[in-house]
């Protein structure tokens, strides 16, 4: 008994030295593995697509591992310059960016093309966490106001691209920091009020026609079943026809016969629900809940306000992906381009997420660093 306890201690220190948080890794790996099976089914049973997904998983895991080795202190040091650089990149995307699917998201630096908005998903929480953790918590109103402005800048720049999904994720990552930093409830109420007042302005001045159309479609998809409502109707049919037990892996007619749009990316949850049914959904949601719990556990046990706020924000933002994606494909939310985290096909967002998990692991394993 004793020796086994010692062995466990040894194992823990082994992973500790690698800066890997084992429970979190298990949760992530299970989701990634599920993603591989689903992408095979949703991608027309092509192995090539599975290989590509596996390759980006490899890259992402490596990236996560590398990031996990960096002491969290480093992020705090570099928060401001990196944030400024990120804003500059977002501006240059709007000025010189590449257009893809009707939106400018890509920046071509000659040797590499990348989406600055993706990396902002990490930079924004770091920046805000740094900013609000300079003072004792709970945050003061003046700090909150300034923090809001810091969040709003990248959010609006990304919304202008337009990339509603990413700007939503970035805004929430900042807001989560402010919330976790203990912004007073009265303030939160006021903010929610202001946000509601902002909706008409958003609708009239900031949203593009196709975004408005998405919202209208969301409100009544059956109005135009062959046009803009098609995606959401087909998605609901896929989910609903899955029933309790599902049609079985590779047996989903909605996905295999290609009635579902964006099957291996944004709508992969519909494929999953169709093929694995309510039981599968329960398992998947439990997995996500486990990852979120572990992330929050890491945050609560972090030793400094900065790392607590950063870990908490990264975890909750990860959950926003889950909520927005599942919400939209099951008809609760309008369609905004947010993938199902770790499961959807699509390298860029997964790499960002995994880098975020790398930061979480760093926070979880670099316990003894000093302010």
């Amino acid at each position: 008994m004793r020796s086994s306890g010692q062995d466990q201690q040894k194992i823990q220190t082994f992973w500790q030295r690698l800066h890997i948080d084992v429970p979190l890794l298990i949760g992530i790996l299970l989701l990634l593995a599920l993603g591989l099976f689903l992408v095979y089914s949703a991608g027309g049973q092509e192995t090539a697509i599975v290989y590509r997904k596996a390759r980006s998983i490899g890259i992402a895991l490596f990236g996560m591992f590398v990031v996990a080795q960096i002491p969290p202190l480093v992020y705090r040091k570099w928060a401001v310059p990196v944030f400024v650089l990120g804003l500059l990149m977002l501006v240059s995307v709007l000025l010189f960016g590449h257009v893809g699917k009707g939106a400018q998201r890509w920046l071509d630096l000659g040797f590499i093309k990348f989406q600055p908005s993706e990396i902002m998903k990490l930079i924004v929480p770091i920046m805000i966490a740094w900013y609000v953790s300079q003072e004792n918590l709970p945050v003061k109103i003046s700090t909150v106001v300034l923090a809001f402005i810091l969040v709003l800048l990248p959010t609006l720049l990304i919304a202008k691209q337009p990339d509603l999904g990413t700007s939503l994720l970035i805004a929430s990552s900042g807001i989560f920091v402010i919330f976790l930093a203990g912004a007073s409830w009265r303030l939160i109420t006021v903010c929610v009020g202001l946000a509601s007042a902002f909706v008409p302005i958003l609708w009239m001045f900031l949203m593009k026609d196709y975004q408005k159309q998405r919202v209208l479609t969301f409100l009544n998809p059956e109005q135009d079943p062959l046009g803009s409502g098609y995606h959401i109707i087909q998605s609901k049919i896929a989910i609903g026809s899955g029933g309790i037990e599902g049609k079985g892996w590779l047996q989903g007619t909605q996905s295999q016969l290609e009635f579902l749009p964006e099957r291996h990316t944004d709508f992969i949850f519909s494929v999953f629900s169709e093929e694995f049914g309510l039981i599968g959904v329960a398992v998947l949601l439990t997995l996500y809940l486990f990852v979120v719990m572990r992330g929050l556990w890491i945050a609560v046990n972090a030793q400094h306000a900065f790392t607590k706020l950063l870990a908490g924000s990264l975890t909750l933002t990860f959950f926003v992906y889950v909520f927005v994606n599942i919400g939209m494909v099951s008809g609760l939310l309008p369609v905004v381009g947010v993938p199902l985290p770790l499961v959807s096909y699509g390298g860029t967002s997964m790499v960002t997420l995994m880098l975020g998990f790398g930061i979480l692991m760093a926070i979880s394993t670099h316990r003894r660093f000093h302010v």
Partner: protein, 656 residues
């Protein structure tokens, strides 16, 4: 940003605050997950059936399968309407990368005209997604082979085989058989109205004319269904279920294609029609109208150029002349004579004097005989033999229009015969009431005289003539003229045995026409016999040397109205104002087997005897072949008649 400050931190208070907030966030996460799960539960459990149904209707499609159209045969089993595979070149634009270039390339390969290409591009604009569009409707075998070799170069372009109607005898059968052509909007509306549109979901064409149109329901068959699984592009992935279509019934007509050929040959270069019928059954043996046209042109969609040509032709090839009205002229004299006997205004021996003209008392108009110096003393038989107009002026005058039209209506003039094609005209049997309704004018006695020689407003169709003649030779027994002899249906038993069930068509006989004195039939028939058999009678020449004991009656109808004192001269009269030649005949005299009516428009020279008579002769020559039927002497016949008291009984019935 703000300058660095030294902050004295209360670590445990911060940790507590954070833990509280993190817990609230966690509670929020759990709540949101429950909402998501609840929503999915609602979709997958509460609304499961609804979405399952919708999922199935997404993926399962019922594809209609067109039944094979019934074939049509002539009385001897010669195939008149066939279904032949036709290869069309079709394009699914969504599968073609560079549509313009591909079409140009494939057109170059198969030699497709620019006209077709531009038609294709026009059709492309109003097509539905992933629906094929026809680039060429009839590829030759060579084109099919050439394309098959090069198919890999043209993704999205393919050859489609379809059964389409084919009429091997082309223009020989078009007026009677009709044709099948593509279902147009009007047909579709009609099918919908009749509740048949579902049965036609996969059908290419519908009968537009003649037998094809009349027996559409019998020929068409019942649609089959293929239940298939499709993907979002409507492409078939696999078949789940198959209900085969029931093919249409095959039809056997009473028509004899060889007689039809003779009719065509006899009418070549003329405008006119021939109808031959079996008087024992009413079965049409030949029905041909010249000029005709190729029904196959319509099957594939006639080009506007060809159609315009047919429409604009002065010879009106689209009209089926065998069911169009012509002035009957002297061909109706036997029927008028019979009316005179029936109404007792003449007896067989009543004689009149024919000086060559007839004049009504108190009127200046002189009605002329065709023979300027007249026929002298004329009784009924001679009047028919010689086609004496004066006799019939007198007769008509005595009868009056009402008695004439009443009797003629009993022979079927002025009404549909009920033949099994829809193109039939009623023609006109004038009467006082008719003229009042048509022109709002009273009837003039002079018009009665014209009716007496089959002119004035009176028109009859060649079909009506054979129908009336049938009633005459049958001594009043009336037959329904018809084309359909039998239909045959493929029956497949559950044991797998298949056989053709042949159902002969039964035509309900019509109430017979009874005369007060039955012997009057033979008086008239005998006169018609004389008309052909007696040297010097009007129809003697065309049947000279025939061996089947024919009888008949000629007719020459004035088309132009001659002014008083004017002479008709074919040479000086414009072509379309020249006389029509008419002829009716039956043979043999005893127990007739065939009745024939011929109409030829605007003949250059002569009348019915010289122009239409030979046509009837050729038909009968073909019909009887080498058979020699000798005439019984009138005496022997008269004796025989006394023994059996009714001729009707002696006419053997032949199943048809």
């Amino acid at each position: 940003m703000s300058p660095r400050r030294i902050v004295i931190r209360n670590q445990s208070a911060e940790a507590n605050l954070f833990a509280r907030r993190a817990f609230i966030a966690f509670a929020g996460v759990v709540l949101v997950l429950l909402i998501l799960f609840g929503n999915v539960y609602n979709l997958q459990v509460e609304s499961f059936e609804k979405y399952q149904t919708r999922s199935n209707s997404n993926r399962i499609k019922i594809l209609p399968v067109a039944p094979n159209r019934g074939l049509i045969y002539d009385r001897n089993g010669v195939l008149l309407a066939d279904n032949k595979p036709v290869y069309s070149l079709e394009v699914i634009a969504e599968d073609v990368e560079d549509i313009k270039n591909s079409i140009v390339q494939v057109s170059k390969l198969l030699d497709i005209t620019p006209e077709r290409q531009s038609q294709f591009f026009k059709a492309m604009k109003r097509k539905r997604r992933f629906k094929p569009v026809e680039l060429h409707s009839r590829l030759s075998d060579q084109q099919v082979a050439l394309f098959s070799v090069n198919q890999h170069k043209f993704p999205g372009i393919f050859v489609n085989a379809r059964l389409k109607r084919y009429y091997p005898f082309s223009d020989l059968t078009t007026h009677t058989l009709g044709y099948v052509a593509r279902i147009n909007r009007k047909d579709l509306n009609k099918l919908e109205l009749e509740g048949k549109s579902e049965n036609y979901a996969a059908t290419y064409g519908v009968g537009k004319l003649g037998v094809e149109r009349y027996y559409e329901d019998m020929l068409h068959g019942t649609i089959g269904h293929q239940e298939v699984e499709i993907n979002n592009q409507g492409r078939v992935i696999r078949t789940l279920n198959y209900t085969p279509p029931v093919p249409g019934k095959d039809l056997t007509l009473t028509l004899d294609i060889e007689l039809q050929m003779i009719a065509k040959r006899a009418l070549s270069g003329k405008r006119g029609a021939v109808v031959a019928m079996n008087p024992r059954t009413g079965g049409i043996l030949a029905m041909y109208s010249n000029p005709s046209y190729d029904g196959n042109l319509f099957v594939h969609g006639i080009s506007s150029k060809n159609y315009k040509q047919l429409l604009d032709s002065k010879d009106l090839p689209l009209i089926n002349r065998s069911v169009q009205g012509y002035p009957p002229a002297s061909t109706v004299k036997p029927f008028l004579a019979l009316t005179g006997l029936e109404e007792n205004v003449v007896t067989p021996s009543t004689e009149i004097n024919d000086p060559g003209w007839y004049q009504l008392e108190g009127l200046p108009n002189k009605y002329r005989d065709w023979k300027p110096w007249g026929h002298g003393k004329v009784n009924l038989t001679k009047a028919i033999e010689q086609s004496c107009n004066i006799y019939f002026y007198e007769l008509a005058f005595k009868l009056g229009i009402t008695k004439i039209s009443n009797m003629m209506e009993k022979f079927g003039f002025g009404d549909y015969t009920g033949i099994d094609i829809h193109e039939e005209s009623r023609a006109i049997m004038p009467s006082v009431a008719w003229k009042r309704a048509r022109y709002n004018k009273p009837w003039y006695t002079g018009e009665t005289l014209s009716v007496g020689i089959g002119q004035s407003f009176w028109t009859v169709t060649p079909l009506q003539l054979v129908q009336a003649l049938t009633t005459l030779v049958n001594h009043g027994e009336r037959k329904v003229p018809h084309l359909l002899k039998a239909n045959s249906e493929l029956i497949i038993e559950s044991s797998g045995n298949a056989y053709h069930q042949i159902t002969p068509t039964i035509y309900e006989p019509r109430a017979p026409l009874k005369l007060k004195q039955d012997k009057h039939w033979d008086v008239v028939l005998n006169a018609m016999h004389n008309t052909v058999q007696k040297f010097g009678a009007t129809a003697y020449t065309p049947f000279k040397g025939s061996t089947y004991d024919a009888s008949g009656k000629t007719g020459s109808a004035q088309v132009a109205r001659l002014k008083q004192g004017e002479e008709y001269d074919a040479k000086t009269t414009s072509e379309n104002q020249r006389d029509n030649a008419m002829f009716i005949a039956f043979a043999p005299y005893d127990n007739p087997e065939i009745v024939v009516a011929v109409a030829i428009e605007n003949v250059a020279k002569g009348g019915g005897g010289t122009n239409a008579g030979p046509v009837a002769r050729q038909i009968m020559d073909q019909y009887f072949g080498d058979r020699v039927i000798t005439s019984q002497t009138h005496k022997a016949k008269a004796k025989a008649k006394q023994k059996t008291d009714s001729a009707i009984v002696t006419i053997p019935q032949e199943a048809d």
